[in-house]
Symmetry: C2
Subunit: 497 residues, 2 copies
């Protein structure tokens, strides 16, 4: 009975959050521009309400009562996860939560302006306030060693900053030399496939994407594909998970890659057991595990030779002008390794270095070792240190991502951890499905999806990410698997496979 | 200070309602079908929350305190309107409100099924429950003479059933003979314009509609035009009013007429003073006054010879196959008077008779003089009595409208009252803008919109509809103006004008 009451209260909050999700999805897709300022107020109101409900005395009592009654593993997990979040969020004063929401709305607008004007100063003061509030929140939540731990735990439960630093050191030691080897390899010297000129109408691109994501297993009756300036996935409700992409009429691969990425997120969300929906257990294991799924479908599948073999005839019939490009030409185009300034368009090797730059900077900001004034300079320095290039301006440097303006400190590492999880899981998947490449080249993704359902999606948030890696691969987390995947992929000539 | 507090609480509720509006808009436009059942729960949760907030003790106290402080006419109106709704809704038990919401969701689904299967029995039991609950609500609200008054007041504040019956009697006495005269007139004998065959791509139709509604004054940066099975207007937020239409590839006029109708609603909503938004005064005077605006732009403007003169070159350039039709041909096509079974596609004369059928039936149901069992038979009888035709099945008869399944008893009269208001206001408008026809034929709608802004839109809900008619036309409401408009329109040959 008490468990039922707790679930019912959690579902009530989930309904409010579902409205918030739709309001956010609409904000980025269809909302008429003049509706923006009222929309911000509606979002603020409902976010405050959801926060209030979740941190109320009532919730505390429901958890206590449910605790006494919980018996099954699932019930125990439900109470444990709810209590963890409850105790954390209850430490954050409602006032502080509301103020941060408001400042975020302001900072996001200023970020857009600053980016357009290529001027960090426009954002500086608001970002300062955000960082101050985020630090304040971290102090309220509490931590043992590093203030950043309090934030990191939101996205990667069970992770410590010290461990993350070790992983970053490993990655730098492995990837910086790998980057040099790839640059001097035969493969790179052969030159890259270039896109045949031509216009690729958006309608056709959308059709192509819908075929691909349907083949992956995305149910278009339980989701949508729309357009937005920044691609994203939104769980609007039970059986309602929406993804977006952005189109470039001169290059059909950009929208496809972004859609495959978001499709990975959506497949995870859509295949968590329905009975977990709306409960703390009805989520992915972590932000990184989620990113891992996105990066798996985008990169490990989407940029692979077998996948492009499957894609080729569809591509040719959709865009006859592309038929002159061979599968290998396309592979090269999608797998160019290059020291570039922009994270979202970077290759699978340098992407991780982009993340390390961000993680090290935000960890320093949160621990007040780096001032907001010095941030742009520190950014440029780190880019030069790890990637060997220096941004020519703020837009291509410190202003390229919205995350900090949105108050999302602690999220960036999840992108890299996602790659690392996906890399390690990939080898296990290959072991279990020896015909993996053949399946992919034939467009048969069913067994892959089933494997993920059984091993990952069906578990919801039952495991923390490190536990899940162990449960799935029978080994502790190791970034070596990702590095091995990257070495095999980028140091072996695809033509000679 | 107290006024400010009252406003702030009302705006809080408006924010919740704004989320509900978006959830409803999305439900009818973009929601993936499998998301439906969760969506119903989200809507139920937020509706209950909004109802709870509005009927709480806290709201009662805020009204009391604001009452003492209110000085300006506007402040007094704010308190008066809030108190009226508060006292009404507070009489309705929350339990009853929630149950009705749930039963509506069920009945609407059954209505769809019943309509598809052409079988009233599928809906019958659920409709019985709905009527019982609506009667229960009317009893809680209370009334003097007629139980139906308690429902009618929701849509047409200040109206009594007895007065509405007088209006219906007048309308029947005027329109049934007028219908016969039109049928035997030269005009009708000349035959009707018929649509040149051809396919009218939806994209082109949408473009055409956007040009027309923009010309009317609809700001596409503060609104949207989308597609849905049943056209509607939704105020999603401040500066965010969305309309929908439905397309028929074989006939471009259906979507245009529906869009002009919804545009009329939207122009009203978008031009109520921004500072009234979210407050009880920030609404139209009544559902009928709102319909009146919709019917004005759809019919009095949209089906007029001057408008079609303006439209003709745009139409020809969009759809060259239509260029063989003259303006008069098109006028005839859009103004065919015919005894037909379906309300939404009926002409300007018989439309009112369709409404009277519905009003008389629902008034009898609410007062328990007509059982749900007898409803289909009573429907057919009344159709035969007023329109001289008898439905061949339930789908074209009693099952054609969703209103009763949605619990909207008391709304139907607003459609006819809308026509009557629009008719009376039209003559005043013509008096004030003697060049009206010329303006319309030149596509210059600015002065019309300005006139409506000044005389109607800017007043929000400050006046009840009968007061507003008096304020605008300096006369009491009289359906004779509508009848005169219809006589002039349908008994005069457009060619001889």
């Amino acid at each position: 009975m008490s468990i039922k009451e707790l679930k019912s209260e959690l579902l009530k909050i989930a309904k409010v959050r579902s409205a918030i999700s739709l309001l956010q999805w609409d904000l980025s897709t269809y909302m008429p521009p003049k509706g923006a300022s009222w929309r911000a107020e509606v979002l603020g109101e409902l976010s405050e309400y959801a926060f209030f409900l979740f941190t109320s005395e009532r919730m505390g009592n429901l958890i206590e009562k449910a605790q006494e009654e919980a018996k099954s593993e699932l019930e125990l997990a439900l109470v444990r996860l709810t209590r963890k979040d409850y105790e954390k969020y209850r430490k954050i004063p409602l006032r502080l939560f509301v103020e941060l929401q408001k400042e975020k709305a302001i900072a996001e607008k200023l970020w857009e302006e600053a980016r357009k004007d290529n001027n960090f100063l426009i954002l500086k003061d608001s970002l300062k306030k955000i960082v101050k509030m985020v630090i304040d929140i971290a102090e309220h939540i509490g931590y043992e060693d590093n203030r950043y731990d309090a934030l990191l735990d939101e996205y990667e439960p069970g992770f410590k900053t010290s461990y993350l630093k070790e992983i970053c050191d490993y990655m730098k030691r492995a990837l910086i030399p790998l980057l040099e080897r790839v640059e001097s390899s035969d493969l790179e010297k052969e030159g890259k496939g270039s896109l045949k000129k031509g216009s690729f109408p958006i309608d056709k691109q959308r059709e192509l994407i819908q075929r691909v994501i349907s083949a992956f297993g995305f149910d278009l009756y339980a989701g949508r594909l729309d357009t937005s300036p920044h691609p994203f996935t939104e769980v609007v409700g039970l059986n309602d998970v929406r993804i977006t992409t952005r189109y470039d009429e001169a290059d059909p691969f950009q929208a496809l890659l972004a859609a495959m990425h978001e499709c990975g997120h959506a497949l995870y969300d859509l295949n968590i057991p329905k009975e977990f929906f709306g409960l703390p257990i009805g989520d992915g294991a972590s932000a990184g595990m989620h990113e891992g799924q996105a990066r798996f479908w985008e990169n490990i599948v989407g940029r692979s030779l077998p996948f492009l073999t499957f894609l080729k005839p569809i591509l040719d019939s959709t865009f006859p002008s592309l038929s002159e490009m061979s599968v290998v030409d396309i592979w090269k185009k999608l797998n160019t390794v290059r020291r570039s300034l922009i994270r979202v368009s970077s290759d699978e090797i340098t992407y991780n270095l982009h993340i390390i730059v961000r993680f090290e900077l935000e960890e320093a900001m949160i621990n007040e070792r780096l001032s907001i004034e010095d941030l742009p300079y520190a950014w440029d320095e780190k880019m030069n240190e790890y990637l060997g290039i220096r941004p020519d301006n703020h837009r291509n440097g410190v202003l390229q991502d919205i995350h900090w303006a949105s108050g999302h400190f602690g999220y960036f590492p999840s992108y890299m951890l996602g790659n690392i999880y996906a890399g390690q899981i990939y080898w296990k998947l290959k072991e279990n499905l020896p015909d993996l490449d053949k399946m992919v080249s034939e467009g048969n993704f069913k067994a892959i999806l089933e494997w993920f359902k059984e091993n990952i999606y069906s578990k919801g948030k039952f495991f923390e990410p490190l536990e899940m890696i162990k449960a799935v691969t029978r080994e502790n987390l190791s970034p070596s698997y990702l590095v091995r995947y990257l070495e095999e992929k980028f140091l072996r000539n695809p033509i000679k496979r």
